[in-house]
Symmetry: C2
Subunit: 340 residues, 2 copies
Amino acid sequence: MSFPAASGRRRPVTQEDVARAVGVSRTLVSFAFRGAPGVSPETRDAILEAARRLGYRHNVLAAGLASKRASAVGLYLLDLHNEVYADIFAGVSEALGDGAHRLILGVTDSPSGSGRAAADSLIEARIGVLIAATLTDPDAYIRELTQTVPVVNVARRVPGVDSIYSDDRAGTSAAVSHLLGLGHTRIAHMAGPPHEGHLERRRTYERLMVSAGLEPRVVPAQDYTQEAAERAAHALLAAPERPTAVFAHNDELALGVREAAYALGLRVPQDLSLIGYDNSRLARLRGIDLTSVDLHARDLGKAAGEAALERLAQPEAPAMERRSEPHLVLRASTAGPASS
Amino acid sequence: MSFPAASGRRRPVTQEDVARAVGVSRTLVSFAFRGAPGVSPETRDAILEAARRLGYRHNVLAAGLASKRASAVGLYLLDLHNEVYADIFAGVSEALGDGAHRLILGVTDSPSGSGRAAADSLIEARIGVLIAATLTDPDAYIRELTQTVPVVNVARRVPGVDSIYSDDRAGTSAAVSHLLGLGHTRIAHMAGPPHEGHLERRRTYERLMVSAGLEPRVVPAQDYTQEAAERAAHALLAAPERPTAVFAHNDELALGVREAAYALGLRVPQDLSLIGYDNSRLARLRGIDLTSVDLHARDLGKAAGEAALERLAQPEAPAMERRSEPHLVLRASTAGPASS
DNA sequence: ATGAAAGCGCTAACAC
DNA sequence: GTGTTAGCGCTTTCAT
């Protein structure tokens, strides 16, 4: 191949070029593009036509710099490998519509580390509001971000900061009660890394176990990946006094437990009952059939998008919280304990 | 709650503020941040220290505007729900390192439509190079983009444009040959939408079938989602002359076929052999065990990231192509046809 | 080693 | 309805 890959790329066309071509001032061109009032229809059409012909591209860098207020929305995700984040993204995207608000994504490099880098890069892009969908950062860090940019939490509650979340207590309660109802007594909890700020599921699990007169057993995975859960679950399930049921913090971790179980020759649900959280597509696949708590991620994302828009409009309004109800979806991964 | 959510957010700190605090000029502050030569160590430290104390945040909008050349890399993805894109992202991210190149994500709203909006928004953000990971846009559109910004294709080949791709002919050949070797004669192909520019797998399948003296049967899904494939597969598998094997364009579509098969009471692989493409995590899960062609998405992403960096450095170099070899991973979703 | 000054392309008063 | 003008915060010659 000897095409020059950059064939004929030249200096970008600016509003000035368009203005000159039409024979009007730069201001009118700027107005025309944003549908601002005070431009006659003919001028408007002429400008749009000329812009198209010349190949004009709006420069958001310049526009953002010049305009006082930042209207872009930043979405800060923990891990693209977890489909829940795809659902949240879809919801946010839907809420913003094809309107005037750019959506900028920031993704944490590793699902273990705090996503400071991702959040920083979003802030440097001068977003007007940050939607945070992360588990690994402590509450204090989220609050710190608030000093710089308004933050809306999704699928997490941080007191004093806008939070769109699902009732984890109710979800956990439904899951654990289901296992208790089936007759399980040795129920373990596969949790996320211990340094997190997202502990409601774990705490609720512990509380429920204690009030049922049972001993809680929490196993923390090193990060929120299937692989980490697999490693952590291996030791748990290889021991003689292994649990007969595991409630996992999310589907990702539940699948890790599942893989570890199969690797050890344990069958789900005959030898091990398993409940996940998120009701992601993975859980729904035949052959997986994972009982899981649905927190309606896409709806959460949509609500977060709407909340972000409100926050943009009312920067000084008091922090708002919106809690939704999850529900347990029963599938084939749970059964009574083996009669041994 | 009555906290003001926006407590104490004030005018952003600029380099000017830092300069004043230290007692130097703005120029030096700018230099200090970019590690440019010509700043004495003491001044440098003083500047960095002051910046930290004042809470200075670099403004990429202003920086991008002021600097002649765009160094940001745009990554344009088709669908966050497909984990392959997460792998590609991880690879690109690794290649860019934590260096001087910002990575900006653009995601198509719907996996069916062309991602013009996503690409446009990336271009408006004045990226220096665009990495395109999309299937639904025609070659002509990719070439059109090239007029505006250098493009690097991942997992796809567009002649005359930088392309990092996997040998689809070899991958398809391995898959179809495997099915032929097992004794299948009624092998269908679940393809993507017909209006695409990514037809190598389909064409190769057709060619192989014909040279084996068999009749090709291509079923196009409406978009690249599991659901679309499920709908399309239902009719295919409900018919009396149904195929005994299906080769799908990717794992996503293969899973759709799988769901449709199960819904109709067909077992995989006893009643239907199935091969996917991508060897994504889904394929590897126990209970799914999908035979699949691995195209090493993360490696492709990494190579694309490197290519993007090279393109940034050499805008006028001739278009480059890098082709890698995929390999077929055998699992439990394929077997000989039922002896009926 | 440090500083002055000229923009980058756009928005937003404000005037006409 | 249209044009003038002053920045937005930064990079980048070019002096000193």
